[in-house]
Structures are given as C-alpha cells and as structure tokens.
C-alpha cells in the first residue's frame, strides 16, 4: 500500500542520497528551512508553540478542503529545516495517513537522531502534535462520514 506520504518520503530519500558530506546534507536542510513560508507573526504565540528545550517551534494546523494542512516555523535554522521537511512530507496528506506514518525515511537519510526523545529541539513534540491533530481529525471524519 503506497500513499501520498510514502511517495513523498521516497522522493526525499532519493534527494538526500546525493550527499556524502554531513555539511552538504545540513546545508540542504537549512535551505529547505529558508524556503519554508513559516507562520504569520500573530500565530507565533504560546498557543501555537510546541514545547521544546532549546529551539522554539510553532505549529499551526488547519483543515483545508478536507485535508490537514500544516504551517510551521522555528527560530533555529537547522530545526526550521527539519520542520520544513516534516511539513513537506505530511502537510496536505489524508489525516489517516499522517496519523499512521512511521516516518522511516528519517532513518534512511540519517536523521533519525533528531527524532530521538532525548533531543531537545522540539521536533519530537512537533511530530507528535501533527499526528495527534491528524488522528483527531481522522476519527471525526470517520464518525461523521
């Protein structure tokens, strides 16, 4: 079974396979972050803030045309790049797919360490929030649908 999320993950794995050097990889991540639209200043509030120890992450979920759309931002460049990566993979995908995504591509591109619970970059909490939001929406859809 392949879905939108899996297809996007495969695309990213392919994209990252050209980097041998860690610096190139991180520069690519940072560039992805620079390309991220981010979120409007009015949403950069505690209500949208994902709890993280060192870098701040904001997540603003919304439902547009029946799919879950995420906007996100961070004050640190690497974290913002990782946030952009997660938005690219998950935003606009069906809610049930987001909730169930194992996100194994992070392992393949050598970034699993960023999702370990001991990392203090807020990314773990952000992914958890994204999935919780999607799961809540998916169950709402199921009960109404």
């Amino acid at each position: 079974m392949t879905g939108i999320v899996a297809a996007r993950e495969a695309e990213i794995v392919e994209e990252f396979s050209m980097f041998d050097e860690w610096l190139d990889k991180y520069q690519h991540i940072i560039e992805m972050g620079q390309g991220l639209a981010g979120i409007d200043e009015e949403f950069r509030t505690d209500a949208y803030k994902v709890k993280g120890c060192q870098s701040q992450v904001w997540l603003q979920p919304a439902i547009e045309n029946g799919v879950v759309v995420f906007k996100a931002d961070s004050d640190a460049a690497i974290t913002k790049g990782l946030v952009a990566l997660m938005v690219r993979v998950l935003s606009g995908a069906p809610a049930s797919e987001i909730a169930a995504a194992p996100l194994s591509f992070l392992e393949e591109i050598g970034l699993r360490e960023h999702l370990s619970p001991t990392r203090s970059n807020g990314l773990v909490s952000m992914v958890k929030q994204m999935k919780l939001y999607a799961a809540a929406y998916a169950s709402q859809e199921a009960s109404h649908g």
Binding site: I30, S55, I78, N121
Partner: protein, 416 residues
C-alpha cells in the same frame, strides 16, 4: 612560566580513557566539563574493584564484606572532610548530588528556621537548583526569594547586595549563593559576602558545584554554614554529592527523608533519630560510587587544587583572546575573575544550530540556558554556547573550537 608542561598535560589526558574515542569520525574535543567532567581510569577501576571484591551493604553488617564496604564508604567521608578542611567528619553529609544537598537544607533547616515574610537572598544568575527549592519553600511557608542583581560583566552588584542584606526587601534570614556562575564562569567574592551576612546574623549556604571541582575551597576559611556540591563534576562518579554543614547547625536540624540507617530506635509509640550525619542519610547509600569519589579526590590532590585553578585560568585567558577575535562573537561575562567556563553568543546564529554543527566536528559544548533562565533573561539572550574546561583541556582543543566556530559562522552566518 606555564603551570604544567605539555608533557604533563598529555600525561593527564592519557589517564582518561574516554578522550581516546572519536565522535562522528573525529577526535573527541570535550568542552562540557561544567555539566559533567570525565573519569580517570583510577576512578573507573576503583568502582569496579569495589564491586568485584567488596560489594555489600554498609553499616551494621557483622560480616567481613559489609565491614570492608563500610570502611570504603566511611573512608570517603574522612577524605572529603580533609579535602574541605572541615573541623570534623560528622560535618560531611553524603548525598546523591548538589541538588539533593540544597533541597535537604530547604526542607530541614529552612522549614525549622524560616517563617512567612523572611527573605532568602540568592543571585540573579543562580542555577535553578539554588532557586527552585527556595521557591517551593516559599509556596509552602510564605518566605520570599529575592535576587541580588548581576552587573553587565557577570559579577554581582555588591552595593545592592548590602542594601538587600540590610533589609531593603524584607528581613534576610539566609544567603544562598553560588560560588562560581555555571552559566558565565564568574567567581563571586563569597568569602566577603558570607562575612557580611554573618555579621548581620544571616545564615549562609554556598553552592560550590562549580568551585569545589576547580579551585581550593576551605570551609573554615569560607566560614559558611553550608556548602553543597556534586562528585560528578570533579572527576568522580555520578550519584555522589556532599552537603557540608557546620556541626552545631546540622545537629540542630530535624531529619528530612525517613527510612533505614537514619534512626536510633523505631517504635509505633515514637521514633528517635540518629546523630548527624546519619540522620540525613536515609536508605542504602551509593557505596560503590563512594569508592570512586575517594579515587577522584586522590587524583585532584595529586594535581593540587591551586594548580588546577591556575591551569584553568591560563586556558580561560587563551580562549578569551582567541574567541574574541571572531567577528560577530560576543562573550557573556567579561569579569576577569573567572573559572574555566566561557559562554558566548554568535550574531544571527541560534545556539542550537551552532551546537549541532560543532557536534558534527566532534566538539562537545553545551548550548541553551544552562539551567539558569533568569541569567539568560538578564543578558537578553535565549541561550548561549558554553565551553567549559578541565585539567585535560589543551590549547589545541581551544584552537579546534575556534576553527569550528569560524566554520559555523561561515556556513550559518547572517546572509545579506
């Protein structure tokens, strides 16, 4: 003349097994000693040897192993008393760390001696471990926690300190003050501050977490009522710590945690407690680690704390000069009276990004608020990059840090 020759420093390094490992295929440059220092082989093997040959519960056991284990455990207390120049061995309470030591004081001495409206004076740049226990006490009994303001150079405002001590913000009953700032490295004039407090009848607690591991600290000279610190920051095992308390003060304090070892007689009609220090040591202590703590003291005394401090002063001066030359780098805490801690920020670069990049280069620094959020607020930053040294740190490692920071600047620096 340098404090140690490069051969002597190389010899120190060779005693730390971890320093020979690589990180991301590069030699480890360990500059996070203020968080936890590394263990020399002698400490690692002292713990292992204890576990292989003497491992048994301490106190009261009549069998041989228990007696030997007790000798090792109580031996660490004797060594600590000597190391700190305490008047007697009973003044050393063995805890699991500096945090527990401070919490012990807030929960016993604090509850017994403080009342609603009383002021506990701390500094604005205190570690959370010397703020939060006093805040918890405030919530319970209505005391106030008042910070002594810090100046721009990372030192404390001594004029303001005297005003506060004289009751500007309510009657001060306790001065609970760090000896050295973990976030900035400033060495505070605690001896003078303790004397000022004492002359006004104010009790004193010194948080020695960042001083005892790096310089000579003599409790009789300091003349404080309490001194708290951790073993893991002084080349000892984690889970070891000390609360030094003046005997008369300790003896007047009620117990905090109840359990085995801290009692005299237990009965459902009433329980009586042991003498100090055992009254404060409920439950089975970390006796294996105590063997390592003694070995760590051996190592430190072999070097000499005065020389340890002088060597770190050399490193701080060297690092200060080298880092200051980097464009966009700002050192926080420029007071020249500093221990082996250097905190800095990079213009336009998040400390987390810098830390991530330095890690990829094998350089271990700490980034963030260093458990001193009020200090970060005082200096208008969300966090810093902190390099902290030890006896095995070399100028070459500081050069690696400087090269790493330059590279970080180049890759992440503000783009026009």
């Amino acid at each position: 003349m340098p404090v140690f020759t490069s051969e002597e420093i190389a010899a120190f390094r060779s005693r730390f097994p971890i320093l020979s490992r690589t990180v991301h295929d590069r030699p480890l440059v360990y500059l996070d000693n203020a968080a936890t220092s590394q263990l020399p082989e002698s400490v690692i093997s002292a713990v292992a040897e204890f576990d292989r040959t003497k491992h048994a519960n301490v106190h009261r056991g009549v069998h041989k192993l228990s007696q030997e284990a007790t000798d090792v455990h109580e031996g660490s207390r004797d060594r600590l008393a000597k190391f700190l120049n305490a008047r007697r061995r009973e003044e050393i309470v063995l805890t699991k760390g500096c945090t527990e030591s401070i919490n012990l004081v807030s929960n016993t001495w604090g509850r017994q001696n403080l009342k609603s409206g009383d002021v506990v004076l701390v500094s604005e740049i205190e570690h959370h471990a010397n703020i939060v226990p006093w805040q918890i006490l405030s919530t319970a009994i209505g005391t106030k926690v008042v910070p002594i303001p810090a100046l721009d150079d990372g030192s404390l405002d001594q004029a303001e300190f005297v005003k506060l001590l004289d009751g500007a913000n309510g009657p001060v009953k306790l001065l609970a003050i760090q000896h050295v700032s973990n976030a900035l490295g400033t060495i505070h004039p605690v001896k003078e501050m303790v004397a000022a407090a004492k002359s006004r009848g104010v009790a004193t607690l010194v948080d020695g977490a960042q001083s005892v591991p790096h310089m000579p600290v003599d409790v009789q000279d300091l003349d404080c009522d309490f001194l708290a610190f951790s073993g893991h920051k002084m080349h000892g095992p984690t889970g070891t710590g000390v609360l030094y308390g003046r005997y008369e003060v300790l003896d007047s304090m009620p117990p905090w945690m109840g359990g085995g070892d801290m009692i005299d007689k237990v009965s459902f009609s009433g329980t009586t407690f042991q003498d100090v220090p055992y009254r404060f040591e409920a439950g089975t202590p970390n006796f294996s680690a105590a063997a390592g703590f003694t070995a760590a003291l051996d190592f430190l005394e072999e070097i000499g704390m005065d020389k340890y401090h002088l060597r770190e002063a050399e490193l701080v001066e060297y690092a200060h000069r080298a880092l200051s030359a980097i464009p966009g780098l700002r050192i926080l805490g420029t007071n020249p009276n500093k221990a082996g801690v250097l905190s800095f920020v990079l213009d336009g670069i998040h400390h987390y990004d810098a830390g991530m990049f330095l890690d990829q280069m094998g350089i271990a620094v700490r980034t963030g608020h260093h458990c001193a959020q009020p200090a970060m607020e005082r200096y208008g930053v969300t966090g810093t990059i902190r390099a902290s040294f030890a006896i095995f740190t070399t100028e070459g490692e500081i050069d690696a840090l400087v090269a790493g920071v330059r590279r970080v600047n180049k890759v992440l620096g503000a783009k026009s």
